[in-house]
């Protein structure tokens, strides 16, 4: 046993007191003096040193904490719990953590600003994206019982070509309702022609938003009527229900029931009476109708039993909503009704049910009333959103660990003074959360001026008031806090792992592990940015390629007119064509059922080769009127075109691709087309009158394949009339055509469609995608730049002394620049080495969607690399210049 030493015992006793919070050195000194007095007394009484010390100690101080309590009580009159008695909860420490946090942010203003603005922009962009995705997903959800409403679509299998159609025959809906108990309500509606016009005496509105709808419409779709009875408003012919918005446009008021409007579409104009006004129409629907004209206005009784006269048909199921049981019964329905209908046109039909709420994001089917949203894009956007947030976190982690040198001393000191790792950890976490919260608030602020652009890009009606609701603000702040917690975690663990000994000895330097991580993070951002930029360049080039691709006909000089659905008007069509053909600069006018902006998939055709043997071919087929080939500006390579002067012309034409594909070159005119009946027996042989140059409708990125052309010079209502003319004299020629039209079809408006515009519109999906990519790219590049600038300024900061020393011994600006740039240039090169193959893969995958596409080229990458390089060097040179310009004494004298 060690011998008892009184002095040592007293020193230790004092030490214990020093550890107790709330005991000031002055107090302790006095207590020590008291202890010594007591010991002296006990010694005089004859106790041993050890006994005296023990007794005196007990008397003087029960426990240090009790002692501190007494001091606290005496000082505060006992109303407050002393701090050392309080539970050490994070909450009680937060105010202090935040205080220190703000101090630290303030101390490193530039870093904080970079960090906060980067985070804020990511949060802002992600939130706006989230809002957009939410909005797109919300389409049609507002209808009551939306989950029980389905659209019935036709899946038509036509000569091995499958095509789903958005509209189905008139009797489908009522038959479903009559035959199957699952179906409780059915509604049909349809748009007549491309656009219709409604007119009041002083106002005329042409729109795509006017539909004819049957009287059951409001049973399926819960639309509020501010006046009119939903049961009867659409039951009589020549009645219309309009929206309040439309009523305001026409009459400037909403109580307009009983007024009449003039309705003109493909029929001669007629009066329709307003029987109801719809209110509170939600724009988030795949059917943004503004006016519903009663079914009887357009359809005759006989039309309603015609399986090939089509309408959009919606069914509402009963409460059980058992769609599967209904689907199981459809094969039976097909056998009973559809098979005999489709047999007539050599096709097979099947009914499908599409849930109302998914229509807007599903693919477009043939004959959709409006273009749809795109689920794929939403997925990309959601991915982007997540990615942006991750990048924001990465940048935070990056900047925070980069500051480790800066904070190391602080950590060392705090640990020396007795701070636990946990309490330091919570300090750093609080800082991260605080910073993220600032960013969240900033994100809300910067969202406000961005709202108009958001509205423009998305077509949404979101305004400031709609944006600044508690829910949105709550979500933003919550997300910010989560980001703070997430991104604060690693730096907090990392920063609190330092041992005070190494730091305070001054041997600490930013660890290699941390530096490697930072480099990886920066490289990944460089990689992402350059892939995005490359992708954008590729998409732009591909769109340009598709739009400008030669398609075998004259896109520029072609206009399209719709043939009116009116007997007298139709009689005049041939006169019209003759008179237009006589105009200078007009190549030809021709009737056709085909839509030049739609791609015709090939189907099976039976032919007879020059050797007299039958050949099964696979060619796309189009039916056109006389002069079609010259109207579109293609040429007849061999033989002749369809000839008006030949009575009962029984001939077809093929294109060069067909002749080449089936080896008929040179003897094309000996080939025959075999007309078959239902059993497959040959009913007639049609000669090939001529061979035309290859051309391609629809998407230009598909190869021009073999094609067969039939003659169909009937005048069909609502089909197209094409006029080919010299594009250089487009306007003057149009001015000559208009009087002819007006003379022959005075009541029908002269509406033309430029084929070039129609074709360009095919690529709207790609165009939207491009816009999306561009927006994303701008944000990503911005955040990357912030990250890089942050890192550069940090690097120069920690090398300040080194650079100053170098300057003292004679380094030039150039040397300093070189020194600083080397690291970043290496990072850039590494990033490019990763980005090129990855970018190649991604853009190549995307280009695979197009049969004909531009080739992958390296120059977008080089361009991107160049931009990154220039940016980095510019950012660097600013700092290098600052460093080089600074007086070395400033940097060196601090130690």
């Amino acid at each position: 046993m060690k011998e008892f030493n009184l002095e040592n015992a007293i020193v230790n006793w004092v030490k214990v007191l020093h550890k107790q919070q709330g005991l000031e050195p002055g107090f302790i000194e006095e207590l020590e003096s008291n202890l010594r007095d007591r010991i002296e007394d006990y010694l005089e009484e004859g106790l041993s040193e050890q006994e005296a010390f023990q007794l005196a100690g007990e008397k003087t101080m029960p426990t240090p904490e009790c002692l501190a309590d007494e001091y606290h009580k005496a000082r505060t009159a006992g109303n407050k719990t002393p701090p050392w008695r309080r539970k050490p909860s994070l909450l009680s420490k937060l105010p202090m953590h935040f205080k220190i946090g703000i101090r630290n942010l303030n101390k490193r203003r530039i870093y904080s600003m970079l960090n906060v603005s980067g985070l804020a922009i990511s949060i802002c962009a992600s939130f706006l994206i989230w809002l957009y995705v939410q909005e797109q997903r919300s389409y049609d959800q507002h209808f009551e019982d939306a989950e029980r409403i389905y659209r019935v679509i036709f899946d038509v299998d036509y000569e091995d070509v499958k095509a789903a159609q958005a509209d189905v025959g008139q009797p489908v809906g009522p038959t479903l309702k009559a035959d199957y108990p699952e179906v409780t309500e059915v509604a049909r509606l349809r748009r007549i022609g491309a656009t219709n016009t409604l007119a009041s005496p002083d106002n005329s509105i042409e729109s795509t938003d006017f539909f004819v709808a049957d009287d059951q419409f409001f049973k399926v779709f819960s639309v509020e009527l501010s006046s009119g009875n939903p049961e009867t408003v659409l039951s009589q012919p020549n009645t219309v229900v309009i929206s309040e918005e439309l009523a305001m446009k026409f009459f400037g008021r909403t109580d307009v029931v009983g007024n009449t409007l003039k309705y003109s579409g493909l029929r001669p104009p007629m009066d329709v009476m307003i029987t109801g006004v719809m209110t509170n129409l939600d724009k988030h629907t795949h059917l943004p109708f503004q006016a519903l004209i009663s079914y009887g206005t357009y359809f005759l009784e006989s039309d309603l039993s015609n399986w090939l006269r089509k309408s959009y048909t919606y069914v509402m199921l009963n409460e059980q909503n058992n769609i599967e049981s209904l689907r199981a019964k459809i094969p039976d329905f097909n056998r009973k009704y559809l098979d005999q209908v489709f047999e007539k046109i050599n096709a097979r039909g099947n009914l499908l049910f599409q849930p109302l709420t998914s229509i807007y994001l599903d693919d477009d089917y043939l004959g959709e009333p409006y273009p749809h949203g795109n689920r794929g894009n939403l997925k990309i956007l959601t991915a982007v959103m997540v990615f942006l947030l991750i990048m924001a976190c990465i940048n935070y982690v990056n900047l925070a660990t980069a500051r480790s040198v800066d904070r190391a001393v602080e950590v060392g000191l705090r640990k020396t003074l007795g701070s636990s790792r946990l309490s330091l950890f919570s300090q750093f976490m609080s800082e991260a959360v605080l910073l993220a919260l600032f960013s969240g608030i900033l994100a809300i602020i910067i969202s406000l001026p961005l709202l108009p652009y958001y509205r423009e890009i998305t077509g949404s009606g979101l305004d400031v008031q709609g944006f600044l609701v508690l829910e949105n603000i709550g979500v933003i702040l919550l997300v910010s806090i989560s980001i703070g917690l997430l991104s604060g975690f690693y730096p907090s663990v990392y920063l609190t792992s330092f041992t005070p000994k190494t730091i305070l000895k001054g041997r600490f330097s930013s660890s290699k592990k941390g530096a490697a991580l930072r480099k990886i993070l920066i490289i990944s951002q460089y990689v992402l940015s350059s892939i995005l930029i490359t992708w954008i360049l590729t998409v732009t080039a591909q769109i340009k390629y598709m739009k400008n691709k030669e398609v075998g006909f004259d896109k520029e000089g072609l206009i399209e007119l719709t043939i009116p659905d009116d007997q007298t008007a139709m009689k005049n069509i041939d006169v019209f064509i003759r008179r237009v053909n006589a105009l200078p600069y007009v190549r030809a006018a021709a009737k056709t059922k085909e839509d030049l902006s739609t791609y015709y998939p090939s189907g099976a055709q039976r032919m007879e080769g020059p050797d007299g043997l039958p050949v099964n071919t696979n060619m796309s087929a189009i039916s056109v009127g006389y002069d079609f080939i010259s109207a579109i500006g293609a040429s007849i390579v061999k033989g002749r075109g369809f000839d008006r002067t030949v009575p009962d012309e029984r001939a077809v034409m093929i294109n060069e691709a067909a002749a080449k594909e089936y080896g008929w070159e040179g003897r094309e005119l000996e080939v025959k087309y075999l007309g078959l009946d239902r059993e497959g027996k040959v009913t007639g042989k049609w000669k090939v009158a001529g061979v035309v140059s290859d051309f391609k409708f629809g998407e230009s990125y598909v190869e021009k394949g073999p094609m067969i052309i039939y003659l169909d010079n009937r005048t069909i209502p609502e089909s197209n009339l094409l006029i080919g003319l010299d594009s250089e004299h487009l306007e003057t020629t149009l001015l000559e055509i208009i009087p002819i039209w007006e003379e022959l079809f005075d009541i029908f408006p002269f509406e033309i469609q430029l084929i070039k515009e129609k074709l360009d519109a095919i690529y709207w999906r790609e165009q939207t995608f491009l816009n999306l990519l561009t927006t994303v790219c701008i944000i990503v590049v911005f955040i990357t730049s912030l990250g890089i600038i942050g890192l550069i300024s940090f690097t120069t900061e920690i090398r300040k002394k080194e650079l100053a020393l170098r300057k003292v011994v004679g380094a030039s600006l150039k040397t300093i620049m070189g020194l600083l740039s080397r690291q970043f240039v290496i990072l850039l090169i590494v990033a490019s080495l990763i980005a090129i193959p990855l970018g190649y893969y991604i853009t190549d995958q995307w280009l695979m969607n197009f049969q004909l596409h531009i080739n992958f080229s390296i120059w977008p990458f080089l361009l991107t690399l160049g931009c990154c390089l220039i940016f980095t060097v510019l950012a660097l040179s600013y700092h290098a210049f600052q460093a080089a310009k600074a007086n070395p004494v400033e940097a060196l004298r601090s130690e």
Binding site: R36, P62, Y71, R75
Partner: protein, 114 residues
């Protein structure tokens, strides 16, 4: 042993009264109180020193460190003018309580009861 509340209430008057006779230090005060009360009032150090500090900061007493001949330091307290005033007030109060109790414990206190 006296009641805890009584101890608490009497601390300040006792300290002031002791110091009104001259300067003293903590341990000495404790010993004096013990002697005066025949060991009935045994103050702990943990109680006294915080009270002394409080009284000092209230301006009732003041302190100074004095170095002893043996080199040790002691903190001596003296009463201030304000402390003397305070002592007078508390003295009157205690006298009142004392007088009332004496009367009650006497042979025939004048009381209205029932």
């Amino acid at each position: 042993m006296a009641y805890k509340t009584l101890v608490a209430a009497s601390t300040k008057p006792l300290i002031l009264s002791i110091l009104s006779h001259g300067k003293s230090y903590g341990y000495q005060i404790i010993k004096n109180v013990e002697n005066l009360s025949d060991g009935e009032l045994s103050w702990t150090d943990a109680m006294l020193y915080p009270v002394l500090h409080r009284m000092e900061s209230d301006g009732l007493i003041k302190s100074e460190w004095v170095i002893q001949d043996n080199g040790r330091k002691r903190k001596y307290y003296t009463i201030t003018e304000k402390g003397r005033e305070e002592r007078k007030v508390t003295r009157a109060q205690w006298m009142n309580v004392n007088a009332a109790l004496n009367l009650l414990w006497g042979s025939s206190p004048q009381l209205e009861l029932g």
